[in-house]
Symmetry: C2
DNA sequence: CTGAAAGCGCTAACAG
DNA sequence: CTGTTAGCGCTTTCAG
């Protein structure tokens, strides 16, 4: 195992000081253009690579952004992360990712790991059952910025990037009502999380505004997984009086319900009109295509990373911002469309 | 911004040396149980956190494993990574992930970044258009182990973890033949990649063994994306003589074809029997359910990470291994099932 | 524009 | 079982 080349090796070869090499390599202002060129060339030729650890140790800055997400394997999350990575690497930042697996306690451990790793900033989307955000306060104490996205805390003290879940929940329910639905079921998840809570509120208010009574019997809570959604669908089918519409809090769940309903001979949207959320690819693949909300996952990731980096670079102070709301819109497809508009 | 607590601060408080503190915190063998207890307690109480950078700088080891994958947003990849993360974090390793976005040149950059980050080991699944694996040879030179998984190089010098793509391709084609298919189309991707290449070989040989002529006209190459697959489906529909079977190299692609075929009035599996690959959730959601190959994504990730960590710990020498093949199996579902077996 | 020198916080010999 | 010592490789004053 051959030893690594250091700036001292380069300095010796060139008969200059290590400090000069360091400055030349860093494009430090006030360095002779010629010596810079010589250093860079020699470095390349000797196969030099900078030692992040020495540098970080010295600078007390890691050029690393931490990302904590519930789980990687959803279309929304992986798209958002792809965007973050793109922005970050263009700006010379590394990203480290950890999954909470929807567990609040794992999220606490992950936050600690990020803290120990001394990330310069943290991007977070909360787990299903996270109760408080105390595990992030140590970051604030050290002036490490934390930006929440998608699943954000209720508290208004945090910086968060979201879409208008309430409005979209309202609009999509209103759309179902306009298609003639009178009994609209709702499949949701843990209402601690803004995304589900607000979609649910939108649903309720849309019903109310249309003069339709809200009934708890039509609301089903589960983790939206394939299995849980399938169980919910079965439960819906066993109701004395079936609903004639269904708004599921995500597309995966809507897709599972559609499958079960169809297997039981129901016609979609004739018997039950269905809507999902997120514009997941699955919403375009199953039959009928699912009415959903176009979720700007890429833009959200892009924006979160960009704000973070600009903040770290001192260009803007994100911490005085409270909330950023991205555009999103209902996409009407066959699963809910009964009449020509 | 309050200054960080170091082992010196603890040492001073306790009137012992920094070395002892370091040893106590690391559960170093041969340290007095009592002093250890005092150190650990004091560290907790002072809010000490270890400085990875100083430690890494000193140890010349980062406790970090790099993962390079084509893209995060596929069910296979995100599941495999979830497994890797689980294994790694249990063993005290961090994981850093980067996406090549299916681009060979991005993969080269990512490899360099991993190298500069001084990962202790590297886990790689190749991009579509990667031609050589020269960009990984610098790792070998520094004795940094590289393990390939899923999309692996042809060369037998690398350590790789795969499933038997050839056998599965063969079996699934044979199954289609047994269902009465005579003209079986195949949708594949870049044949540089073992996974597509071998599935394709399996397909060809199964045809041959059944006495069916192989025809280039029935093979369609694309990137398997939603859009490209949809185009391929349209192209198939425009053939003078339609195929009566289709084996697509992944489920997403199979699902897109099914959608197009159904939209054009074809019956699945009656008119065209269809099979995919991977057992992606979508294969269970669309109608009819897609016959596919159960891909042990979680196990593959688990195994890759476990072997890597055992190797790094000196428990086993993975580098003398050439190839590890995991179990996988054809799952027969409605999209191909014409007769009772 | 460049050099000397100090030190970031930790660990590993080595010596007791 | 514990202390002393000497760096790991880099950046950054402070002087020139």
């Amino acid at each position: 195992m051959n030893k690594d080349i250091t700036i001292y090796d380069i300095a010796k070869e060139l008969n200059i000081s290590a400090a000069t090499v360091s400055r030349a390599l860093k494009d430090h202002s006030g360095i002779n253009g010629n010596t810079r060129k010589r250093v860079v060339e020699k470095a390349r030729q000797m196969g030099y690579r900078s030692n992040f650890f020495a540098s970080n140790l010295r600078k007390r800055k890691t050029n690393t952004i931490g990302v904590i997400i519930p789980r990687l394997n959803s279309h929304f999350v992986s798209t958002a992360i792809a965007a973050m990575e793109k922005v970050a690497s263009a700006a010379g930042y590394n990203i480290i990712i950890s999954q909470s697996n929807e567990s609040g306690s794992k999220e606490i451990i992950n936050a600690q790991t990020m803290f120990d790793n001394r990330v310069d900033g943290l991007l977070v989307s909360l787990a299903y059952d996270t109760d408080t955000v105390n595990h992030f306060s140590k970051f604030a104490e050290k002036n490490i910025p934390v930006i929440f996205f998608d699943r954000v805390p209720e508290s208004t003290e945090q910086v968060s990037i979201v879409i208008d879940n309430y409005r979209n929940g309202y609009d999509i329910t209103k759309h179902l009502i306009e298609q003639g639905c009178k009994r609209i079921a709702h499949v949701t998840a843990n209402l601690k999380r803004n995304v589900y809570n607000e979609r649910f509120s939108g649903y309720k208010h849309a019903l109310m505004d249309a003069g339709i009574n809200f009934s708890d019997d039509l609301v089903f809570s589960c983790d939206l997984s394939e299995q849980a959604s399938t169980e919910v669908a079965a439960k819906i089918l066993s109701m004395k009086k079936l609903p004639d519409g269904l708004f599921a809090a995500n597309d995966m769940s809507a897709a599972c319900c559609i499958r079960v309903f169809k297997q039981n001979g129901l016609k979609i949207p004739k018997d039950i009109a269905i809507a999902g959320f997120n514009n997941d690819p699955v919403s375009r693949l199953i039959e009928p295509n699912i009415t959903t909300v176009n979720y700007p996952a890429f833009q959200m990731g892009e924006m979160a990373a960009t704000y973070m980096i600009n903040h770290l670079a001192g260009l803007t102070n994100i911490l005085i911002t409270n909330k950023i709301i991205l555009k999103s819109e209902v996409l009407i497809r066959e699963s809910s469309l009964r009449k020509k508009s």
